[in-house]
Amino acid sequence: MQVHWHDRLAQGLLLLCCAALALFLIGPLLMILVKSVQDKDGAYIGLVHFREYFATPALQQSIWNTLFVATAVTFITVPLAFTYAYALTRSCMPGRSVFRVLALTPILAPSLMAAISFIQWFGTQGLLKGLLMGHSVYGPIGIILSAVYATFPHALMIVLTALLLADGRLYEAAESLRTPTWRRFFTITLPGAKYGLVSATMVVFSYTVSDFGIPKVIGGNYNVLAVDIFKQVIGQQNFNKGAVVSLVLLLPVLFAFSVDWVMRRRLQAQFSSRAVPYVPRPSPAFDRAMLVFCSLVAIYLLAVLGMAVYTSFIKLWPYDKSFSLRHYVYGLIDAGVIVDYFNSLKMALYSALFGTVFVFLVAYLLEKTRGMATLKAFVRLVATIPMAVPGLVLGLGYIFFFNHPDNPLNGLYHTMGILVLSTIVHYYTSSHMTAVTALKALDDEFESVSASLKVPFYRTFFRVTVPVCLPAVLDIGRYLFVNGMVTISAVVFLYAPDTRVASVSILNMDEAGEIGAAAGMATLIVASSTAMCILYAIVTRVLLGRTQAWRATSRV
């Protein structure tokens, strides 16, 4: 078959995208493998680092600490999220939509913020210190409390989806067979949510294992792997040892990721388009119990966010609680730290802009163009990898790869560009899946019809594909922006003095004891993310209402 230049163009673009993914994901990851078996001067030394590592009791202890904390967080977060999601979908308690929005607020804040808040609540000068009965919040307790806060919305969203997919007819059938409520729960609800629960478990586990901000701020002397990497790289400048710890960190995350991957596929397969949504019926006692539960969780979530905001607006916790803007005026603006906030804003906007374009383009080329089957299979595989790579590991890989004197892209190092790239790559998988799902929902024959009408594919892309997928495109943009605002793990190795971002400066201010200013910065991040989400809601409603009139109209 002759190849039309249209097809050549599409194939060329796909090749370019593939090269970009290889360059900014595969290259850095391979460098970690290489560095882990080299000494400081780059000579091959085999597994010496690994042997040294496993011979150091303190580092070994980190592995157990990491696994302990992650397991504890998983066992707390997942049941909490399940019950919360159950209340949202299966009860008639009042205020369900408010509870739903509240539950997602932790996504808007960097994980560090939770740690700072818990220090304010339970730390040496904490208001509720007595509740810990002599235990210190600096350590596993603080890490677990904060990580539960940070992981809760992630688990909730997955479990919520699983519960929403339930087929109402199953419950009607069970009822007509006089099945008691408890039996319906164990034979219909739980099996239906099974894959979602496993997936949530894995996501919470790997989030906790890979998160570095929380243990850094509230971990005290309790060592975990993520902080070890940071200490090796930033503290001791021992990059090769850092590479070794990275690989150790990668293992549990990879395991969790593989399980999650399998589960997600099953979760999708379970979805039947003919399912009838379940409609809960009022049941006063149950609804009241659920309301109490959700209120308690909401108080916990609001207490964290509220404490951070409050801390930023008072003079000095807990001695002078009078209202003041000094943390913003002196701590952020006069100290010049506010620049970091604008850097964050810039980075998040660039990530959202370029990331969305790139993600959607790749997904389009994969799903809607012809030929290059092998290359496409490769790109599909590569697109799933970022989810399995902790940010710290990716960041370290970027140092190795881009700081390498022989790399022609060396100039990227220490620029805003590398921060944006690492953010896009770090959050690639979810964005990619959103785009692919939206594209798969389009009729496969649009491209065939266009060809028969002699309309070039790019015209159909701009005139039909993008407008129809606009909600997904905006969603990807919002996702990348919000994560760009809160991310710390990948960028902590990559920033330069003039490209330092807000989450990093929170870390620095916390270390310098400037809790008020750190809380102020966190508040600014939350405010920006919230503003973006509100903007997104308005845009989707107004703009889509105008350009997508076809969506609202129902069939005659």
Binding site: S448, A451, S452, L453, V464
Partner: protein
């Protein structure tokens, strides 16, 4: 402005010529050496069970799949290796594939605008096409506001908007409900004849194929079983597959006895075929409506004694299951008009005589 593809004097009657088309998907042979030609202005229907290769063949003609071997000549031009965008056809899919975010008018104009047609001309052409498919006021609506049948009419209008030389229809009626399907069947056929556009339609519905086609191409397992007019395919199926697939048919395993006689079980039947050597095992095929069912006493002398096994009411006629008294003959199914069933009081257990007309019997091996 709507021009029929008028037949220029001296133009070849063979508008589309396929020769030796082969296509494999991995190890699966989707098409095994398919050759075929379609005359200018005819409506040809590819009929076959799912997986027989009919859609693949259509997509190869459209350039949406590439054949592994074989050539395609359309209107004297070798298009075998041309990409879809350089070929000359319009296509309608089962899923309609209307662009949901464009109005009906914009959908129809989609291919026109690209050809730098003047805006007014486009508008007039769209109005014409809308009228042609019987939806003159639908232009400002979105596809989602139309019924399935209306959407398919718009898809058809979009496909013929640029007056292509060839119209391809990929199961265009399969997603519609039964009534709409029958109505659109007639409309598409009338439109096609009016425009005179050479058309190829794919379907798995034999009734659709028989009612619409100039010629039917019956396909099975990547091969063409028979090409013929609907009557030819129905009345003189070339292979056992065609006999089975198109319409209902009775099958009687038999052994030729020579001189036009065939033994089925313990009876010997006369069939108008004298060229088959005695002793050859064959199969006799007979349509249910060809079987004469007579209540005792009124039958021809060579009719066979039988009993009604069951009567299934189907409206205008009844499907009557019949067991012959003679041993070794398979049960038969006959179509009997409702009035005759009533008059003869046919019911399970009724004694009847059946006649199997020699001229209606097909012999295939």
């Amino acid at each position: 402005m709507i021009k029929g593809t008028s037949q220029p004097a001296g133009a070849s009657a063979r508008f589309l010529d396929l020769a030796g088309i082969r296509k494999n998907f991995g190890r699966f042979e989707a098409l095994k050496d398919v050759s075929l030609d379609a005359a200018r202005g005819e409506l040809m229907v590819f009929l076959g069970p799912s997986g027989c290769g009919k859609t693949t063949l259509l997509r190869i003609i459209a350039g949406l799949e590439s054949q592994d071997a074989g050539t395609i000549v359309q209107d004297g031009r070798d298009i075998s290796r041309l990409p879809a965008i350089r070929r000359d056809y319009g296509i309608v899919f089962q899923s309609y594939a209307l662009f949901p975010n464009l109005t009906v008018a914009d959908n129809i104009a989609y291919g026109l605008v690209n050809r730098r047609t003047a805006r007014d001309a486009v508008r007039i052409r769209v109005a014409e096409l809308l009228k042609l498919v019987g939806l003159p006021d639908a232009g400002i609506k979105y596809p989602g506001q139309l019924s399935g049948g209306q959407q398919q009419r718009i898809a058809l209008a979009r496909a013929i908007a640029t007056s292509p030389g060839l119209l391809l229809l990929d199961e265009p009626l399969s997603a519609l409900d039964a009534l709409e399907r029958v109505r659109l069947r007639g409309e598409i056929r009338a439109l096609q004849q009016r425009l005179g556009v050479t058309t190829i339609m794919v379907t798995h519905d034999q009734e659709e194929a028989l009612s619409m086609a100039d010629r039917v191409v019956v396909m099975n397992a990547g091969r063409i079983e028979q090409v013929g007019t609907p009557r030819e395919v129905y009345e003189t199926p070339a292979t056992p597959f065609v006999a089975d697939f198109v319409g209902k048919i009775n099958v009687l395993p038999a052994i030729a006895e020579g001189a036009g006689r065939f033994r089925v079980g313990s009876v010997s039947l006369t069939v108008d075929r004298h060229d088959i050597a005695a002793g050859t095992p064959v199969k006799l095929y007979l349509r249910p409506e060809e079987i004469g069912v007579h209540v005792n006493g009124h039958a021809a002398h060579d009719a066979l004694a039988a009993r009604v096994a069951k009567v299934e009411f189907l409206g205008a006629f009844c499907m009557v299951g019949i067991a012959l008294d003679a041993a070794g003959v398979p049960a038969l199914v006959a179509n009997v008009p409702r009035q005759q069933v009533d008059a003869g009081r046919l019911a399970p257990g009724s004694a009847v005589r059946v006649s199997l007309p020699p001229a209606a019997m097909r012999v295939l091996s």
